[in-house]
Symmetry: C2
Subunit: 396 residues, 2 copies
Amino acid sequence: MGPGPVNADPRVLRAMSAQLVGQYDPSMTEYMNETMELYRGVFKTANEQTLLIDGTSRAGIEAALVSLISPGDRVLVPIFGRFGHLLREIAERAGAEVHVREIEWGTVFTPAQIEQAIRETKPALLAIVHGDTSTTVAQPLDELGDICARHGVLFYTDVTASLAGNVFEADAWGLDAVTAGLQKCLGGPSGSAPATFSPRAVEVINARKSIEAGIREAGDAVSAHPIRSNYFDLSMIFDYWGPKRLNHHTEATTMLYGARECARLLVAEGVDSAVERHRLHGAAMLAGVQGLGLAVFGDLEHRMNNVVAVRIPDGVSGDAVRGELLNDFGIEIGTSFGPLRGLVWRIGTMGYNARKDTVLTTLAALEQVLRRSGASVTGGGGVGAAYEVYQDAAGS
Amino acid sequence: MGPGPVNADPRVLRAMSAQLVGQYDPSMTEYMNETMELYRGVFKTANEQTLLIDGTSRAGIEAALVSLISPGDRVLVPIFGRFGHLLREIAERAGAEVHVREIEWGTVFTPAQIEQAIRETKPALLAIVHGDTSTTVAQPLDELGDICARHGVLFYTDVTASLAGNVFEADAWGLDAVTAGLQKCLGGPSGSAPATFSPRAVEVINARKSIEAGIREAGDAVSAHPIRSNYFDLSMIFDYWGPKRLNHHTEATTMLYGARECARLLVAEGVDSAVERHRLHGAAMLAGVQGLGLAVFGDLEHRMNNVVAVRIPDGVSGDAVRGELLNDFGIEIGTSFGPLRGLVWRIGTMGYNARKDTVLTTLAALEQVLRRSGASVTGGGGVGAAYEVYQDAAGS
């Protein structure tokens, strides 16, 4: 019940135990095509280039940024938590001239602040996190696409922590590039990064294409400014996932089986229903910790559905509580980074763990552990408040 | 029965269906430590920095090269097949001044040729493939470590296709950096890249360390020449796998389970025994295709144990034979790249598929398909010759 990775859906793990097939076996290439189509549903996009990057969610971020950014490009990174710093770091290593705007952890930017920063910095790319588990808030993105379009700025977001647990619309919101991971609301293991790229992003990336020497033929593209990475060169990855099937890496077959099953289960449930499920169980967890008498951190209006930051009461050892929950109750909750270190626990309700039984069990166990640690808690107040949320939902 | 990826060992797939645990759960960090120790056995090294890169084998190559090479460094890449071109390509994108030497596909370099090239180019790094499946030969490496040491050159090799199927000794041969993959002789799926780095390589890499801004604290390192990639920054990956457990990517838990099981099975079998198993079944397959009357490609003295290149007989459609084997017999064999395209099939005997039953079944099926395609074959000659190899081995 931490901020991720969390337990995977057992159906995903079962899908990952299937035997491998060859890289160009017709059934393998069909699985790749199915995976592309399923993730179009998850991202809510019509983008042809919707595929997997073979690595963790951080690999997806780097593939997008290193392929979109030519050295010297100006990039704007509004930072409201730890993963904004990561976007800055990756953009800097890609050779960008990075401009940042920072706000206090727990808050989000207004569209006017973003537009003002774009006017000031004239970036080629806006790179911003959607939901940042380090602060538990989600940056509203729905008005930023229009702003980027007006200023001719490419619009990238990292939805690793938010996708499928919070409302997200790649096309309706005007995104050019989006990357994710499996280990949060998608209910799978870390190690595969679903991603989608708009036709405008594809045009920018393909303009930098260079076919590698080992498989280059007469007339093939050789760019004067090739993408700095081979592994993350999206122009080559597009050709591997597309009808050309041009050899690049050897697709991580088992991770593909897992990523496909994550999306298949989400599409079968309905992506909107999955978001509503996260909203319900997240609301129950929030009510529950408040019902125990604990304070929560951050702008609740922009809280992510799938994680809540709970202030550690005075006089209580955050690490001791986490240790007792893990060792005696088998329940993991999260610690925190940076300015929040030692101040809050982060409790997740996401993916396979966004369930009534996990919420109630966690609240029951937390009450007992807090009581034993000497904290003042409202007996039954956590579970009771969560039950009320479920009863209201059932009655509505 | 292609050049890889091949069927995974079912025990590896079963290990990958285990439920996830948290990133810093004591059992997870213990699995990481166990994995490091198991791969020291597989690579035959005492290197502390022996770990997994989260991505395919190509990710392992890029992590090693981008972390070892500072832009402008001279790198020598002797090329004897497709994957030498890949090393050149990745080193170039890392900003190296790359010098190549090329020889005909199917042959290998002599130590004297390598030393001569080092004298001429004075590289900081020698990057060379061990076994290249594109040509089916393995470059002898045992004398190159001394040469590199004499000239102060770092020594890197890619053993993706050869490890555990051919004799390899990271420390005895003087390697500074070695990267691999699971999908060949290790019997697992693509998607995790075991790698090992000598103390000398670690020193070069750590001299470039920069802690990322999101988790940087007072006094932490900030390099003036940071590694160009965040995801592949080995100095940060060392800190994640080491006692500091400094957060970097979220380890790909399921792939780690798989990589650990691949190594556990190899160490239980004995790495030398696994190499001998590949030698035996590779010899049986070679004798078998020759027994069918087919010619083989490449320098047989330096042939890899785990793959053989078979010349497609005149008048036979290579693709039609491969299609019939796959669709009617459920057996996949490989096509070829570059100068060998259309000229040879590549037949593998590796990992879980390095078995007597797979060798005999493949030879029996190949005889039938060749006969139906109008080729002249020696009836029973393939299976008979393979049986002889097995009988000789049993009698010795």
